[in-house]
């Protein structure tokens, strides 16, 4: 397999895996039972998506799909900084989710049109699930942003913190450019326009405002992460590191 295609698959799979792990931390801690189930359903959708992608690599490289999430080191993960940011509270979780879902949805729509049939098929399957994620996080963003004074303030604070992580998704790595050149999609710069427009519309309806800041935090796609990923991996990889090759 082309190194660029592998890198592209890892970027995508790691986003879903790491965000899935983050959301699964809510299991048993959701604000109410129904939201606890909703957010862990989304976590499972994301981990399922990551599995399809890791399986492609596992078959190609004669490894186990578990090797990718559980046996790689921090700098070998290529997920966005956005998805590894801590849950903090429901406001942070929803803001992070809503920003990611807007990228994820348009990204999958683009990949589903690409000439890479294997990846396009996975994108088509996940697109249905992510359409629900997008509806879920958008409605919560609006509900809490346009809610009470306190909920509005909490959402705006979360947005002020998360905004600087939003753009990395649309900055093309070499792997993204290779895919665009060889498979016709995804054109990240182009899908940024649509995703941003949709996200800003939701933010406006939530009576929130996109912070007026120029900072863009990036590095995840190159394996340079924030301090949070190490702790997440320590939890996620504990079993396989302690009992290598362990199976259910």
């Amino acid at each position: 397999m082309e190194a660029a295609r592998k890198k592209f698959i890892l970027q995508w799979a790691d986003n879903s895996m790491i965000l899935g792990q983050r959301l699964s931390e809510w299991c048993g801690h959701g604000p109410v039972l129904e939201q606890d189930i909703a957010i862990t359903n989304i976590a499972l959708d994301l981990i399922g998506e990551a599995r399809y992608l890791y399986q492609i690599l596992a078959v190609e490289e004669g490894k186990s799909e578990d090797d990718y999430p559980f046996m790689r080191k921090e700098a070998e993960f290529y997920n966005l900084l956005l998805v590894e940011q801590p849950n903090e509270d429901w406001a942070y979780t929803i803001v992070r989710q809503c920003i990611y879902d807007h990228f994820h949805y348009h990204f999958l729509a683009a990949v589903s049109r690409s000439k890479d049939e294997e990846l396009a098929a996975i994108a088509v399957k996940s697109l249905k699930e992510v359409r629900y994620h997008l509806k879920f996080s958008s409605e919560w963003l609006i509900r809490l942003g346009d809610g009470t004074e306190e909920s509005h303030q909490k959402m705006q604070n979360a947005l002020n913190v998360m905004a600087k992580f939003a753009s990395e998704a649309f900055l093309s790595s070499e792997a993204d450019l290779w895919m665009l050149e060889n498979c016709g999609e995804p054109d990240l710069a182009k899908l940024k326009e649509t995703a941003d427009k949709d996200l800003l519309e939701v933010i406006r309806e939530a009576t929130l405002s996109w912070p007026n800041q120029q900072t863009v935090r990036r590095g995840g796609k190159a394996g340079i992460h924030s301090e949070h990923l190490g702790y997440l991996l320590a939890t996620m990889q504990y079993m396989q590191r302690t009992y290598p090759g362990m199976e259910w």
């Binding site: 129904e34 189930i37 359903n41």
Partner: protein, 94 residues
Amino acid sequence: METNWPLYEVFIRSKNGLSHKHVGSLHAADAEMALENARDVYTRRNEGVSIWVVKAVDIKASDPADGDFLFEPASDKIYRHPTFYEVPDAVKHM
């Protein structure tokens, strides 16, 4: 101030052609949220094709204590059941 979200009763149609059936209840801030919660709580295992949610307080229910005069009088009126007709052989599905 009301601190609990109102209770909604959830009805699911398991497939087209069948009627909605009561499956349980949940709390939600409004009907839209109740619908989403119902989707996440009650249709995770492919249980349905359609959901109704109704505020529990909007359901007027009969009093179980009234059962003796509401329902028992029907139990000895077997002539109300259509069981005294001969079904012609030509009629296959009755």
